[in-house]
């Protein structure tokens, strides 16, 4: 059975004032989620953390690939208490965060992020959440400072046939 038209906007937030975190919930009925974040941060050069289902335990790990205009480099972290949702600067940065098969209850969850900041660097992250639960809430936050006024966040749902 085809799902037909999809890539449905679920929620959009435009900040009217600086805010330390954004949380999305109530997104059932899809196969994948995409979170598009165009933001600035009150403190320059911040990693954006991401936690699922209010899990603050050390159940996340990641690998990244970054290039800063002269060098490409890769690294990673294991047993962290957040996934990475991209980067934030004091100039506009775009992060597109892909959540795959987020509602299945059989596998750990893998998410991928692409981040772009024209004045700084470009990158990609892959995150693992070692939990088989369906993702029911997504919280993103700069590790320091706040998302600045005017930052936008849109969550889309994609259904499969």
């Amino acid at each position: 059975m085809a799902a037909g038209s999809t890539y449905t906007p679920i929620a959009t937030t435009t900040l009217g004032s600086a805010q330390s975190s954004i949380t999305f919930s109530s997104f059932s009925g899809y196969t994948d989620l995409v979170l598009v974040n165009n933001s600035t941060c009150t403190i320059n050069t911040q990693v954006i953390g991401c936690q699922y289902n209010n899990d603050t335990g050390t159940n996340y790990s990641k690998i990244y690939l970054l290039a800063d205009g002269s060098t490409a480099f890769s690294g990673g972290n294991i047993n962290e208490n957040y996934a990475v949702g991209g980067e934030a600067y004091n100039t506009l940065n775009t992060n597109i965060h892909y959540f795959f098969n987020y509602a299945n209850t059989t596998t750990y969850k893998t998410a991928i992020v692409r981040s772009n900041n024209a004045g700084n660097r470009v990158g990609a992250w892959v995150n693992l959440w070692r939990n088989t639960a369906a993702i029911t809430t997504i919280k993103i936050f700069p590790l320091s400072g706040s998302f600045d006024t005017g930052s936008t966040f849109t969550l889309y749902g994609i259904a499969a046939a």
Partner: protein, 194 residues
């Protein structure tokens, strides 16, 4: 060794003609599958996108590329390049004459017993018969360093040196000795132009 497939044209009558539409989905069942094939893809979209999670059954080692062929073309008519990070270093690879596209990474049962690789594949202007077809991928996996196989994240680009419209896409583990495992999941979408 079952081979899973979906006849996409069989379900197009159910599709709503808007910008981003689900065409077909394949989920690998118990016992695994040698490959996943989307066939009879209608030429009514401008671009195609595949979103997936995948793992191979290899219990003794690391990952392989996610590879594929278009329209059952098994000749050396493809080119492929990749840029990826391993968590410790950056690697770039490429070849201009090969018999498969490379569109992502397939983790193994050894590296991620409970996790999967994931990614997005774009097949751009797939129905245009005036130019070769370009395919790009974004994908990877992280294992939390299980069995000292931390993972990969990468960008992939392939070229099919043929001007035919793409009507079928076959995807498989780069090392064909190892099948795709249960719960691997591929969803094909069509994206309309104006």
């Amino acid at each position: 060794m079952p081979i899973l497939g979906v006849i996409a044209s069989a379900i197009t009558g159910n599709l709503v003609t808007t910008a981003y539409e689900s065409i077909a989905t394949v989920s690998v069942g118990s016992g695994g599958a040698a490959d996943v094939t989307f066939s009879s893809i209608p030429a009514t979209f401008t671009h195609l996108q595949i979103r997936y999670i995948v793992k191979n059954e290899f219990s003794g080692g690391a990952s392989n590329y996610l590879e594929g062929q278009l329209n059952s073309d098994t000749g050396n008519n493809y080119a492929a390049h990749a840029l990826f990070g391993t968590g410790a270093s950056v690697t770039a690879t490429g070849s201009s004459s090969r018999n498969t596209i490379r569109v992502g990474i397939v983790t193994s049962t050894y590296a991620t017993p409970s996790g999967f690789s994931a990614g997005v594949i774009d097949i751009l202007d797939y129905a245009n018969t005036n130019k070769y077809t370009t395919i790009r991928g974004l994908g990877g996996y992280d294992s939390n360093n299980v069995n000292t196989e931390p993972g990969y994240v990468g960008l992939f680009s392939s070229l099919w040196q043929n001007t035919n419209a793409v009507t079928s896409i076959k995807l498989f583990n780069g090392n064909t000795s190892y099948e795709l495992t249960e719960y691997s999941h591929f969803a094909l979408y069509g994206i309309k132009g104006a």
